[in-house]
Amino acid sequence: MVDEFGPKSQFVAVGKQNLDYQGINIVTGKYDFAGDHHPQGKLYARVLGAKYAHAKVTSINTSRAEALEGVEAVITFEDHPNWSDTILSVDQQIAAVAAVDEATAERALDLIDVEYQVLPAVFDPEDAMRTDAPNAGTFPDGNITPSPSALERGDVAQGFTEADVIVDETVGWLRPHTHNEIEPDSTVAWWEGDNVYFNIGSQWPWGQRNGSASALGMPLNKVHVFCHGTGGAFGNKYWAKIDIEAALLSKKAGKPVHITLPRRLYTVYGNHQYAVKLHMKLGLKNDGTLTAVETTWWGDGRSNGGRSSWQDPCRHTWVCPNFKKDEWGVANNKPRAGAWRCVAHPEGAFLSDLVLEKAAARLGMNPLEFRRKIFISDGMLDQDTGRPMRTPGWGTRQCLEKAAQVIGYESKYHAPGVETLPDGRLHGIGIHAHADGHGSGGGGSDSSVLYMLRDGTIHFNSGSTRVMGGPGAQTAIIAETLGMRFEDVRCGDWGNTLASEGGGQFGSRLTVAAGLPVMNAANDLKAQLYAVAAGDGTDMLNVTPADLDAKDGKIFVKSDPTKFVTHAQVMRVVGGAIIGWGKHPGGNLRKPVGTFEVGSPTVHKSGCASAAEVAVDPGTGQVEILNYVSVLDAGRVIDPITAKGQILAGMPLQVNQALYFDDIYDPVTGRLLNFNHIGDKMGTTLDVPVDVDKTDDSCLLETIDAVGPFGSHGIGEPAVSSFVSINNAVNNAIGVDIITGPMTPQKVLQALGKA
């Protein structure tokens, strides 16, 4: 595809299989994670959690813990600015101990005497919504947010009067699941004078620094964060979860303090994906046209009552002038809820798609045909704002068609529950696509600084971390912009808050949010270089900067490429390092779209689709995935290795969501019972059918984003948000609609009336 950057074949670094230059450290075990740091005299700390899910701490006494040999510092909620004696979920932090080793710290926790006034607690969101439910302690009155997050476009009541068919369904609760990344949170904190230093693993080191500074009441220039490796984050490592207690203990003990959360507490103090329920009412013409979409959502969570943007996928994917949403949060005494890989789209796409399938059945339409009828199409403006879309609407449609073609949907589709395989199992096929809100890399505080050194090479600190693949994309963007060789650009300290401000790495925003600042910084450097190269200094070109271009380490005269100087030659004339600076320009058009001029504000949607073919054993309820494909609208692929890694890595996480993840809380204590890796049933190489995945390079559709650097945008969350295709396939196989996830054998047997 051709756009203003020229044909793809002309690129030197963008879209090429460049070597991941941090890889050598990863394969030799030298790549540096937060817990790998060993400052002299380091102490080890452990955190004490409350015994009860809803309580008031009436007294706490640490004297016996402090007296234990090997203990060097103890703090409680009285010392910690973000802790409280009001307990709203079990294991909420109330004290911490630093000692000579982990075992001693752990032992000291048991010597802290705590007394509680225990209050009634509620854990199940459906229970919490009842008028006679115990108050969970979040809202003064009841457990539901006082008002919903509401939106209406058009006139929904009018839309229903125009409908031939009304579909009215309640689906959910979709069960939540907790984060369980392989690297637990780990922080090493130490002080030098009145400056505090942290080694952390994070997807937003700058944000985590800001949080610590604010809690400690310190100016930002005295709080320093280093972040290199981060062992998976997925929406769980962006706030100061254990940093403040590490700093307080370190100050008290006068030594560096290292906290690593034990596995159980890691699953408690992190985010938990919301449990979500949906009531959806659709107004439809007989031909499938939508006249009204009315949605009410409930999501659970402790701190904010769990209100999020579940309606996003259906609101932006389905064409309907009349759309209404009310989103309610339901507070309870489970641990905090929040993003898991994506803040709300996996749940939102799952539940709304279950209703879409029911609507197709009511109309007697093939589910693929029904989607073709109601999906946004090319040239459409955003239905809410009338602004242009950054990637064309056909991105979502093309994802749908590609997934359908790869899986053979049209030839394999059959009415629900009618096809049996020769071995007696039930055959099913399912598809899903939506325009995902993530990947925009919307404007934030992101900025970038590049140093061109005296030998003509570049060193930069990205300020963002390696949670979403290597430094390849940013390096390629810089090299391509400056006409340099990939190997002459190197990223040094990744998430170092002494360097560039890397914004939050959530919302699949890194490609654009870090990519645009580095591209702007590279252009800033380019202007400085060209000013010197164009001059008439020794060996310089004696033309004007506008006459110049650069490629492959040479700055040359466009009209006569044989006249050139190298970047190194220019830098010898400069005689020292020069600095390029760039900031995020916001989500405005980089190229004209339709009648909209460069600079117009835009709306971003990333198309994503998946399709699955399954066999369901009616005797055991076991689901086997026979074929699977995932398709993403990727904008321009900058770093093929990472992009392909994202889309292929999406498959196991989609399978886990569809079939395995199912958190179980003790109804009495509110503790998560299956917190460990075996209990949370995360798939291994033996469980995830990677060999049936038909996803290949052609499943990364390059649609050229009108904002992102070189036309790229993010794909991380869209890669895991379309797992409902697997559930649709199971429902197609068994002929009964299961309206909650995951599709466990037990649920399948229940649906078949066998359990």
Binding site: V27, I182, G645, L648
Partner: protein
């Protein structure tokens, strides 16, 4: 007076009671869970609360499990050092010998990030005590390369960018090394079994399995 009787008078729980109660033969080193010891203690022992358990644990460690000197052979070098009886091998390798290539993801033998080779077999360092690792040949990820020459499996992982965040990679490489040492031409299923103990949340199992097969 017999030694054991003297100890009964000194401490609240004797070495003999502890050994008898826990059913574990403790050579002055390995120590089981105190909770287990107490749970299995003779009937006349009053069942204690959690803080009493901790106090007893400290007592027991002082009496029967004084730190000993252990010699560990890691990546061809021997290290003679003082080791607390409750220190895991993972703790000692990482925190005392600075071999931080192995990670401690779950600390309960589930995730595979602390995977090392002990006498040629894959072993989870978080589930082994340092004191039971003496006289064994231990190889960590740091011991695979021969100077600047990477081990063939490391080379394969590097060339195919078989990692994203990189946290599970060292453990996974050790699994692959152990597999290919014993089974130079594994089938797909053998590779899947060999890597099934290494969890990966970035989860490109596809690339990981195929990378190992490229070494066949």
């Amino acid at each position: 007076m017999a030694e054991e009787e003297k100890e009964v008078k000194k401490g609240r729980i004797s070495r003999r009671d502890f050994i008898k109660g826990s059913g574990i033969v403790v050579g002055g080193a390995a120590i089981g869970s105190t909770v287990l010891a107490v749970a299995c203690a003779p009937a006349e022992v009053e069942v204690p609360g959690p803080t009493q358990v901790v106090e007893r644990e400290v007592e027991i460690i002082k009496q029967v499990a004084a730190p000993g000197v252990t010699t560990l052979t890691v990546n061809g070098r021997t290290h003679t050092m003082k080791v607390e009886p409750e220190w895991t091998l993972a703790f000692v390798l990482r925190e005392k010998l600075g071999l931080v290539g192995l990670k401690v993801g779950c600390d309960r033998g589930e995730c595979g990030t602390c995977n090392i080779l002990v006498d040629g077999r894959t072993s989870l360092a978080c589930t082994m005590l340092a004191v039971e690792s003496a006289d064994k040949n231990i190889v960590t990820i740091e011991g695979l390369a021969d100077g600047a020459n990477l081990h063939p499996v490391q080379k394969l992982f590097l060339e195919n960018s078989t990692f994203q965040c990189g946290y599970c990679t060292p453990g996974m490489i050790m699994s692959a090394v152990a597999l290919l040492d014993k089974t130079p031409k594994p089938t797909v299923d053998q590779v899947k079994v060999a890597l099934s103990g290494n969890l990966c949340y970035c989860s490109d199992y596809n690339r990981q399995v195929n990378t190992v097969l490229k070494g066949v």
